[in-house]
C-alpha cells in the first residue's frame, strides 16, 4: 500500500468516525432522561480518543497521543461522576419520601 493510498484510507476512516460521532450526538439530543445521555456522553468520549489516535497517524506526529490518554481518563471520570450524581439524587428522593 503506497503512502498516498494509506493517507487517503486513514482520512476515510476519520470521516467515518466523525459520522459515527454525529450519530452519537443524536442520542445525546434525543435521550429521554439523564442515563441515556450519560451513555451517549461515554461513547462520545471514546470516539474523541479514537479520532485523536487516527489523527496522530494521519499527521505522523505521535505527540498527539498524549491528548488521547488525557481524554480517555477525563471521559471515564466524567461518566463515573454522572453515575454517582444519579445514584445520589435517587437516594435523596427516597429519603424525602420516607
Amino acid at each position: 500500500m503506497s503512502p498516498t493510498t494509506f493517507e487517503a484510507a486513514i482520512g476515510i476512516l476519520i470521516f467515518v468516525l466523525a459520522a459515527s460521532l454525529t450519530v452519537c450526538f443524536i442520542r445525546l439530543y434525543r435521550g429521554p432522561d439523564v442515563p441515556n445521555r450519560t451513555v451517549a456522553f461515554d461513547l462520545i468520549a471514546i470516539h474523541a480518543v479514537a479520532i485523536f489516535a487516527l489523527f496522530a497517524v494521519h499527521s505522523g506526529s505521535f505527540v498527539l497521543l498524549e491528548g488521547a490518554i488525557v481524554t480517555a481518563v477525563l471521559g471515564f471520570l466524567g461518566t463515573v461522576m454522572f453515575a454517582r450524581y444519579l445514584e445520589r439524587s435517587g437516594e435523596e428522593e427516597e429519603e424525602m419520601e420516607g
Binding site: S20, R27, D42, I46, A53, A83
Partner: protein, 114 residues
Amino acid sequence: MSEELIRLLVVGVAGLGVAFMAIAALGINVLPDIYTRMHAAGKAATLGVSGILLATGIYFWDASQLPRMVALILLFFITGPIATTTMARATYRAQQRFERLILRHDDLADARQD
C-alpha cells in the same frame, strides 16, 4: 516486515475498530432500552477503540509508542466495565417505574421489596 505490509496491517486493524465504533453508535440509537444501549456502548466501543489504538501503536513502532498504546488499551479494559456497571447500578436504583423494564430475569427484584 516491510513498510507496505505495516501500512496494510494498520489500515486493516483500524478499519475493524472503526466498524465496531460505528456499530456501537448505531446501537445506542436503534436499541429500545437503556440497558441494551449500555450493552452496545460498553462492549462494542471498547473493542473498537482497542483496535484503533493497536493500529496506532503498530504504526508508531519505530517511535516505541506500542507499549503506551497497550497500556491505554489495558486502561480501557479496566475502566470500561467499571463505568458501565456504575451507570447500570445508578440507573436501576434511580428509576421510578419498574414494570417498564425489558428484563426477563430481574434478580434484584426480591432485594428491592425489602
